[in-house]
Symmetry: C2
Subunit: 399 residues, 2 copies
């Protein structure tokens, strides 16, 4: 039985080698960019007016001129105009190109217009004000998005602005989720007294969607030969295989044996943690990674959030910083195990993330999962965790 | 011109009345539950064994018995067995029903089995240990999910476990996003010197997906009559209309006028904020809500994140607590405006959320949006914001 950190380290040694592909802007959310993306021209691409008003040549203003005849009116989307007579001005709109020979924009709020004459009413006009100059943000050819960026709304805006309807990204792994256990019936079935419905798989399936993974679902009966033959065909078709149940010490827990018979190399079985102690991890020579998780919903969900997330982030090169939260009450936990405790974490007015533990009745109790938003990770080398102490946290729900 | 808080309050007076519908488990993520959901039976539904080992009658152990003949082996998914002779035991697996007359489970780690005799090796066995008793978490008929819950992985697990393949939810509004501005060309086109590509719409579109809103996209030219006729047909078909551009004081900013001519009641135009001052908000008598946002990408994205999010959360009854973050440097901002400043917020080892401002070159500078993960909201009644002070924050990207 290994420790939590050893399990993470072992998993880190077996990353996926993701495939790459081009995806359209509408599809890229949550994917990892696999190219550096460059500005196709300067940003802004021209001296861009940022206020509605008039554009002038500052020299005239500096020399004391306050009344300017309006030569023309220029809107956004019009070709660049030219202020031929620098004692005149042009009306100009936000988003327009600054006219040639003009260098400064004065907003409507600071002028009066009467019969084509604009009068400037204030004496605090600054040279080049209200103009966002060409190339001020980015020069043509500069990197605007770096390889490895997780793509979201800001990146869609940037990619659109430089005319990239498609981006090269890391493609998510092909995955399958397999539930095992003869006590499990389908969600549409009525369970007998000794049966329960399959549910753990839905938590894993939903988690994997963060990385745009659409996992196929299967269920296997606790029959060793059947299990072996069905698993053998599924395992060849996926990069990531998540199994639930069948990994503890029970007489019908064939899974570790079957996996090894199918050539999956075991890297560990059992981790000093609660929930999720019987967690089994292995890989095939062909590159399939197998997470065989304990079957009860809280164990499955905790292990998936902690270990599969870690593996995917590492495999996809996603840089994440740990999140730390402050306990708002004392917790005592005696077993020498890393304790993944569900909490409700909220922000407080001191700018801290404050964790309220939601303690259930062990790993089979999942009715409380809806009140919590993640797991605090309490280390195995302590038994008493005091109010005000700070520990790492994994959100499974957005705050 | 109104203040930020007044704008929020005005928007709060015009919530959407969402429609309701049944969605399948695979579709519910991010939706708001519109029913209380009850346990169909007790949870756990039977006295559920939580360890692999043997089940005994505690009375025998208490009386000093340590060796138990194994009568039978019971797995998860088998009907309930009965321990007829309480001086014997049954092997029992995690997830199985506790046999009648048994009340306590001892794990394999604490026993030795030889020739059908299990010997208990420790003296610290507790009555009823390793059993998760029927109804301990929830009683049949108890609420397991409350109306108003935002649905995610934990709720999918719970709904599956009680046999609810469909749930009644609030349906997202029908929405359209319309860009305006003659300077804008499509993402696939090559802009002329004075033109730029449409991009703001992608940020809004992506944001709306949080609430499962698939907004239709349109573009209108700065031609008043054309704008009016096209808008008039679009506006009737949606609950939420987001417009970008055409709302400042420019000579070609027809939008406020056109909207009012089409019967949209203006509730405000212009807010004391940066970016996004020209923001216009109105509603139609038929119930369409119109957010006409300034067109540059940072303004559009800030206003959408702040105001449309507020309107949607309010309309859908989503309870959110504000998030507070601590500035890690001084900021000065002189205009008497609420300042939405992009920041990169990370968790630190004191359990605080720490904000590093990412200052660009004004609202037209969106190349930096990818470095930030949200907007800090700095109030208009101050000019100096000191390192260590705490202000509200809106994440547009997950930490």
């Amino acid at each position: 039985m290994i420790k939590y950190h050893e399990a993470l380290e072992t998993i880190s040694k077996h990353p996926l080698s993701p495939k790459t592909g081009l995806l359209s802007l509408e599809e890229i959310n949550g994917h990892v960019l696999n190219e550096d993306v460059y500005a196709d021209r300067d940003f802004p691409p021209f001296d861009r007016v940022t206020m509605d008003g008039i554009s002038i040549n500052y020299e005239s203003y500096k020399n004391g001129q306050r009344r300017f005849e309006i030569e023309n009116t220029i809107g956004a989307g019009m070709p660049q105009a030219s202020l031929e007579d620098t004692s005149k001005c042009m009306q100009i709109m936000t988003g327009a190109m600054l006219p040639l020979n003009a260098d400064t924009v004065i907003r409507y709020e600071d002028i009066t217009i009467e019969e084509d004459i604009a009068t400037i009413n204030i004496d605090t006009i600054k040279f080049q004000q209200n103009v966002h100059f060409k190339g001020e943000d980015k020069k043509q050819g500069a990197i605007v998005l770096s390889k490895g960026t997780v793509l979201g709304a800001p990146e869609m805006i940037i990619a659109a602005s430089i005319g990239r309807p498609n981006l090269e990204v890391l493609l998510p792994p092909k995955a399958a989720i397999i539930t095992t256990g003869d006590e499990l019936v389908g969600i549409d079935e009525t369970p007998l007294d000794h049966e329960i419905r399959r549910s753990s798989n839905y938590g894993v399936q939903d988690l994997l969607k963060i990385w745009n993974i659409n996992a196929k679902q299967h269920h296997l009966k606790d029959d060793k030969e059947l299990m072996k033959s069905e698993l053998s065909s599924i395992i060849e078709t996926v990069d990531l295989l998540v199994l639930t149940g069948g990994v503890s010490r029970g007489k019908f827990d064939f899974l570790p044996e079957v996996l090894e018979e199918l050539g999956v190399v075991k890297h560990f079985h059992k981790v000093k943690q609660r929930p999720g102690k019987p967690f089994w991890f292995g890989t095939t020579p062909n590159g399939t990674t197998v997470f065989a998780l304990p079957g009860n919903p809280v164990s499955t969900f905790a292990c998936a959030n902690i270990y599969i997330r870690h593996w995917l982030e590492l495999s996809l090169g996603i840089q994440t910083s740990p999140i730390y939260v402050k306990l708002n009450q004392d917790i005592e936990f005696m077993p020498p195990l890393t304790y993944f405790l569900e909490c409700s974490v909220e922000s407080n007015e001191r700018g801290e993330l404050e964790a309220t533990p939601i303690r259930g009745h062990g790993s089979g109790d999942f009715a409380n999962m809806s009140q919590a938003n993640g797991f605090i990770i309490l280390p195995s080398d302590k038994n008493k965790f005091k109010k005000g102490e700070v520990y790492p946290y994994l959100f499974y729900r957005k705050i």
